[in-house]
């Protein structure tokens, strides 16, 4: 007779194996354990609470349906994060198709404003608590276009290489390099601006 699984104490690979065999309680434990991280990634990309909640839920449903495909090459949470990122990218692409392309947007894509920016060295860490710094970084991220924000998130927070980002964003490596460059430059200015504002 098999021993009952101690779900809260079980490690992810054990829960994943259980879930792959159809154990919903094991899957529920995985959801409870990683739901905040998956939601946070969706929110960082969508900048909308409701959409982030819906997309994170959709990601969990997809994960259940594709559990057999998970072979454990990466950690479960990394695999889950990739699913939610893909769902967010699909959603953003749909939204972009609905939006009319404005001159301003095109200019941003080409780095029009960022090209003229003076070089700055953001270093607000001297005066800010970690929590506050994170808030400010998040606020600055919210001011970027979705293309710039996404490329920055995928590179800085998900540690994806240029090639992998290009594949996921369905663009060339050159575009990824360009977007990342302008995204970083804009972030530098936004964070330096925050510092100046704070010092006033």
């Amino acid at each position: 007779m098999s021993r009952k699984l101690d779900y809260p104490a079980a490690e992810d690979p054990v829960l994943v194996k259980g879930a792959q065999k159809g154990d919903m309680q094991a899957f529920e434990e995985l959801v409870a354990r990683h739901r905040d991280k998956i939601y946070a990634r969706a929110f960082s990309m969508m900048r909308n609470e409701e959409e982030a909640t819906d997309l994170s839920q959709e990601a969990w449903v997809k994960a259940w349906q594709r559990l057999k495909q998970f072979q454990g090459e990466a950690s479960f949470v990394t695999w889950m994060t990739r699913i939610v990122i893909n769902l967010c990218l699909d959603q953003l692409r749909r939204q972009k198709r609905l939006r009319a392309e404005s001159i301003e947007q095109l200019d941003e894509e080409l780095g029009g404003v960022e090209r003229q920016m003076p070089i700055v060295t953001p270093n607000p860490t001297e005066r800010l608590e970690r929590g506050e710094l994170r808030q400010r970084i998040d606020k600055a991220l919210g001011q970027l276009s979705y293309e710039h924000r996404t490329v920055l998130i995928l590179h800085e927070f998900e540690d994806l290489e240029y090639k992998e980002i290009a594949k996921r964003m369905e663009c060339s490596i050159g575009t990824v390099m360009s977007r990342l460059f302008y995204a970083r430059r804009k972030m530098a200015v936004l964070l330096a601006g925050l510092k100046r504002e704070e010092l006033r």
Partner: protein, 162 residues
């Protein structure tokens, strides 16, 4: 002024995306060109600032509410595509226990009825020539059929699982 190609190459150098030969060329440029060096430093400072400083966010929904929505959606999808790739949910242990228990209960009822009928008159037997009994369990049902004429009882147990 540095051209855009060099700008993104400086960044690629920072991100370790250049070949060793290209990286050496860029390192020489950074060492000898103040503009290139300033830009490289700005990019590096921004990268350092962002690293590990993503905002920790908490899902606004409670664990139970969030999970109930996911579970409902999973069940809905499974009803839509019953032959899907996803794992089939395993019933709770009490349901697995009740499946044979339900069948057993149905058999006991049958035996009792059969014993009662053995004392009944032929006209009563004709009226109650066959019986159908169903268990009230939601996920498990047993269905039995008895024919006095054929002196035969058939019990069908269904757990509604694939």
């Amino acid at each position: 002024m540095i051209n855009h190609e060099t700008e993104v190459k400086l960044q690629a150098c920072l991100d370790g995306e250049l070949s060793p030969g290209e990286a050496t060329t860029l390192e020489t440029l950074i060492a000898g060109d103040p503009d290139a060096r300033s830009l490289f430093e700005e990019l590096r400072a921004t990268r350092t600032l962002l690293a590990g400083n993503e905002l920790d966010l908490k899902l606004p929904d409670t664990r139970e509410f969030y999970w109930s929505k996911i579970r409902r959606q999973i069940e809905l999808e499974e009803r839509r595509t019953p032959a899907g790739d996803g794992p089939k949910p395993v019933s709770a242990p009490w349901v697995r226990f009740l499946t044979p228990a339900g069948a057993l209960a149905a058999l006991v009822v049958l035996v009792v009825i059969a014993l009662k009928n053995s004392d009944a008159s032929p006209s009563e037997l004709a009226l109650e020539d066959s019986h159908e009994i169903e268990t009230p369990l939601e996920e498990t049902s047993s269905f039995s059929f008895r024919s006095e004429a054929a002196a035969m009882t058939v019990v069908w147990v269904d757990s509604h699982r694939e």
